[in-house]
Symmetry: C4
């Protein structure tokens, strides 16, 4: 039975897991722009009216920008992480699916924060969703590093990877806490967090 199980797990190639994940990342990132609706103008030719309407869209542009960078960061780290795995297993595929579920949820809090940028609940929901996404990525990461790591990479990678990721969770949750005082601080924290992760964490060198 153990043998059969292993065979069955080995049957799952990484390529379709990557293709499905890349599809979801690409769609999430592209759907974000759908929240930028064409404004309704009374004077259709008026430059001034359209200018004012576009200025009113600034919170939505910002919300879109922050989410885009965050999802790209998750995609890059996902790409980096799957490079460590020797194959896929059902456990890994399900952790990946739940992670992708919360990735695909991102357009909702993005739209909510873009529409109600001064509403503390709307702004804090954004941070909570990003913190949950980061936690799910950490779960996927530790599963892969514990069970699926390529033999030649064993040992050096594990500790550093996990620790830096929690910085992301804490940073998003600080943003959530900041909404109690000032929503702008929260948005700044959300925008800064992915910048700490623009390169995936490096392995320790000693």
């Amino acid at each position: 039975m153990g043998l059969l199980k292993r065979f069955s797990q080995g049957e799952l190639g990484l390529n379709r897991v990557e293709a499905f994940s890349d599809g979801v990342f690409a769609i999430v990132v592209t759907l974000l722009v759908l929240e930028l609706r064409v404004p309704v103008l009374h004077d259709r030719g008026s430059v001034g009216e359209l200018g004012h309407q576009l200025v009113d869209l600034v919170p939505k542009f910002l919300s879109w920008l922050i989410s885009f960078i965050i999802v790209c960061k998750f995609w890059l780290n996902h790409h980096h992480l799957l490079g460590f795995a020797r194959h896929a297993t059902y456990g890994m595929v399900w952790l990946n699916s739940i992670f992708l579920m919360f990735q695909s949820f991102i357009p909702f809090p993005t739209a909510l924060m873009g529409e109600y940028p001064m509403n503390p609940l709307a702004v804090s929901l954004f941070g909570v969703v990003m913190a949950v996404n980061t936690l799910l990525f950490i779960a996927l990461q530790s599963y892969i590093l514990r069970n699926l790591i390529k033999p030649e990479l064993l040992g050096t990678q594990v500790p550093h990877l996990t620790r830096k990721s929690f910085v992301g969770v804490i940073s998003y949750l600080l943003g959530v806490a900041a909404t109690l005082f000032n929503v702008h601080i929260a948005v700044v924290l959300y925008a800064l967090t992915p910048l700490f992760f623009i390169t995936p964490p490096q392995a320790k060198n000693n």
Copy 2:
């Protein structure tokens, strides 16, 4: 003619069938979130009003969650199944296309059940669509197992695979029947059904 036909069928690589299918799965799963619309608030900064509106969205969140898990399950089993096939044929591609057609239909009953969670017809339509999807997957499965299975895998896989799948059909139809009495029981059944299939059925060991 027989020879030409075989050649022509052999021309169809599995890779583009997988790429097209992965694309459809990824888009279906990501479009589901578009039904979660940003609520309209009278007091744009009110935490309480937004909170109430988000609570009203709970049936839509649940509907989205159940569909997401179900589509991921279909994707995983599809991935597993195509691992058995040695190549694609026109028959297989058309069965696959009809299956994908009903997969791509899933956002509609999901949105309907999310909008009208107490309407027995809305809830039962969800179950009917999932039962039809499962039947179409079984059709694809038995076609592949009968005609396209890799020679080295012949014999052990066939019976067990088909039997367990019908459990899914029956479970969804029990949910449909339950809507006559209580829609909540139906939703619970829909949510539980994919959990029986989080790992694809294993081959018999003797």
Copy 3:
């Protein structure tokens, strides 16, 4: 210069052309369902009212079904055709892009015919768009068969392929003409046309 040009053209692998095309096909096919909007009910729990509303959606379901089958047919024939090509060139990529442009246009006439199934202009536009798509596919086909065919396949394939495709164009245009008398005949013709092409045309055997 001739040498450099050939080198530059040889640089274009078929894999990304296929990936881009598969992405467009998969998205077109999945976006079609977005036209099936959740009906607005006055009595949210009423089975009868929802039932009536779903019956009113039947033209949209039919329109969706016909388009889905047609796009899958184009995808299958595209997959088959690219199997003949030894590589991609700029000419081929642009013909492919224009073909994909009209493929991605399909959701519009589909939605129009679904919304106004008794309007002769709406129904005839659907046929015109499908005829144009078929013509563009024929253009792509004859370009590939003339310029890019794998040396080992030369000779046998060319004539038969092109001739059968024109049957599709004529059939869609007959549907367009039928809208002058009876829109139902047009819809039946649209539904039947792809059934002639569920397998790509075979090479002549002598």
Copy 4:
């Protein structure tokens, strides 16, 4: 550390960067059609009323057409460019992500120009976004040509490539300037610009 860094960068295969990019390109190009909304008719069966409504949609069709060609051109040049790279690095992935961010933004100015074709601000925004996209592509291009070019291609490609790209930027900005006098000239310039780039720039021959 230098060694480790190089290893870490070598870990990033080009295939997922291409898959993610192709996904974004394919979705952008297909989402463009969603702006073509089914018109509302008072007399649902009237050919004349639908005809008038479709004529009113002509600016949206044109806007869609121009954007489609432009995005296909970017895709083709992206495909061509990545053929020069020996692998991906974090710097390249982030430049690519920012480029894709502005690609995914294209549906918004396209919809705006389609809705308000006589509004100088709407028309000029379209040109600005295309100029920014071209500049970001140039940045990606010079990064790859400077740091990641395959050793066997070194030398001949670099100068010609960059110079021709700036023609695109200038052409889009001329269109933006033209909106001060006449929006039609701007639209014509936007439509003509991608036609200069239907084949990626060739390397110098001496």
